[in-house]
Symmetry: none
């Protein structure tokens, strides 16, 4: 678990799931940066994940995924969909593959369509596998890693993130960072 | 011209086009807000619009469009495409129409496809007009207002914004705010 | 308001919105009829419309729409979508137009996409209108009457119904019957 | 064969195929449940499978498939198509995968397109097989189990069922339950 989540978890207890403000150690003067100003401070501090992903959650996921991409040194396309698998937010980092726009979107949708990591589908859609060629459904699925569902503290899937732009391992790591930024289960 | 752009224009000269940080008077402590932290202070201060729209420009446009939407009191889908008409950034405000996801994207693409405001295409695509039913091309165009090209100081189109979620008048106003935030022509 | 809703409204007060069992005066022995047996009696009596349309609501809407179709003497395709505009239930009456399968689905989606009756969109998508040719978006919209959003007692759109198979007037009447069956606002 | 079909088979003879009312042992008072009231008692008792699947057959298949899903403990999308491979009825159980809407529909269509179980196509569409990548046709086929044709007592295919929402084994079992509910071949 991320170190900076510790304090919040300690005070809120094991079952809480909280939207966490994502801050970068490298940011010196964020007052000069573009911000999505309709997210109020109050929203960030008190919101918990409800039955649908909202704008602040999507922005926090995007931000965390971009930060992780910078740490890893990759250029990513990142897509966020809501509980209905409809696009909520998207960002393509400078220099990221154009072909990954659609893949990121399809990964996010695929993860929500089946409420599981996209790579889990790929495991069983291989030749000879039980779901061979499932990718032909839904206008095109992506069944390799990089898509992850977002699950609230009730176990309900409320959206998903899809990342594409590097190896599937990198894509997965960045997607996971997006999910981790908004879900913190203390143990 | 926006008042807060004045100082920069005065010091940099009439022909400069500068990426401007967009700040909200209502924001008290933006350090708690999600920010896209890979935009450095240096990038924000020195960049001029080049031959392709970059991430910071897209974010600044998104942010300005969201702020304008809040001022007007509307819930918008906002899409930004680059010089290649490929999706660069997207945001759907909470409660905005689901059907406007696609329309915002199509408006942005249409504006870049033809380097003009989407409404200008609609003027000549009416029954009897010279471009009647041009909307059938390119997988579907949107030819009513809400899409605007982004033009750099050399007169080159480097991307576009598409906004959908209210009347076409509101959509246009919000798209214009997105463009204005990153282009400042001093006179 | 339907007469058989009166009792429930009187006891629950003006603001209540309740899922109502739809029964036909012509049904003598429904034990012989196919029923969707995972709807329990308890669910039917106590549920109120939540933030997403569920199976029992969808079935009640389908049933009411079919009954209304029989009263009017028309053969309909009826589609129900949920809050995410995803198909929840569908029924094509015997002899109903094959071409209306897609139209019913698109009407339901269109009504949810823009949270309004489909006919309202058609009013402003005519040649010369502000939304001319909006039908080219979202893989094809239907902008004439027969699609209606379903709104819960909080004013949130939680799904929609689309009906196609006769005149647009008939389509609308049948769609309205579907909505009325599950929403009762006493005045 | 299901036990409750026995009596009918015994009295009607081996070659008859009868639409059977599907009842649940758990249902206490079905008069409170939503019913598709245009199915009359007479229709249910005397109909035999004709050359096209009708509404009552589709509803009986849906109902049986839903009951079987509940027994197995899975959440399914169930689609029924007619002799023309056109959608006749659809139901998504609460909590069933969104991605399975399209898969259920495509399984039903695939089963009718080739008048065989969908899994049989998958056997020969593998790499090196005679129908390799047939899934690219018809706007996307699904070639793993869960789709079954419905055959009348003359051996004519009159429709199909497609089920998706769990393992392919579960999908198949539920689809088979849908078929069994309306076809009874006594031996």
């Amino acid at each position: 678990m991320y170190k900076f989540l510790q304090g919040i978890c300690n005070t809120r207890g094991a079952s809480s799931v909280t939207i966490l403000p994502v801050t970068s150690p490298h940011t010196l003067d964020v007052r000069r940066l573009p911000t999505i100003s309709y997210f109020t401070k109050q929203m960030m501090q008190t919101s918990t994940l409800s039955t649908d992903l909202n704008a602040e959650t999507a922005a926090a996921m995007l931000d965390a995924a971009i930060q992780k991409s910078m740490e890893v040194g990759v250029k990513m396309n990142i897509a966020i969909v809501d509980a209905g698998a409809n696009l909520k937010a998207f960002h393509r980092m400078d220099g990221a593959w154009l072909g990954s726009i659609d893949i990121a979107c399809k990964k996010a949708k695929t993860a929500r369509f089946f409420d599981m990591p996209t790579g889990s589908i790929g495991d069983i859609s291989q030749p000879g596998g039980p779901l061979y060629n499932i990718e032909h459904s839904n206008g095109g699925l992506i069944s390799f890693p990089g898509g992850l569902p977002l699950i609230n503290d009730q176990g309900t899937v409320i959206g998903a993130i899809g990342v594409s732009g590097s190896t599937v391992e990198d894509d997965h790591v960045v997607a996971q960072a997006g999910v981790d930024a908004v879900t913190a289960v203390c143990t």
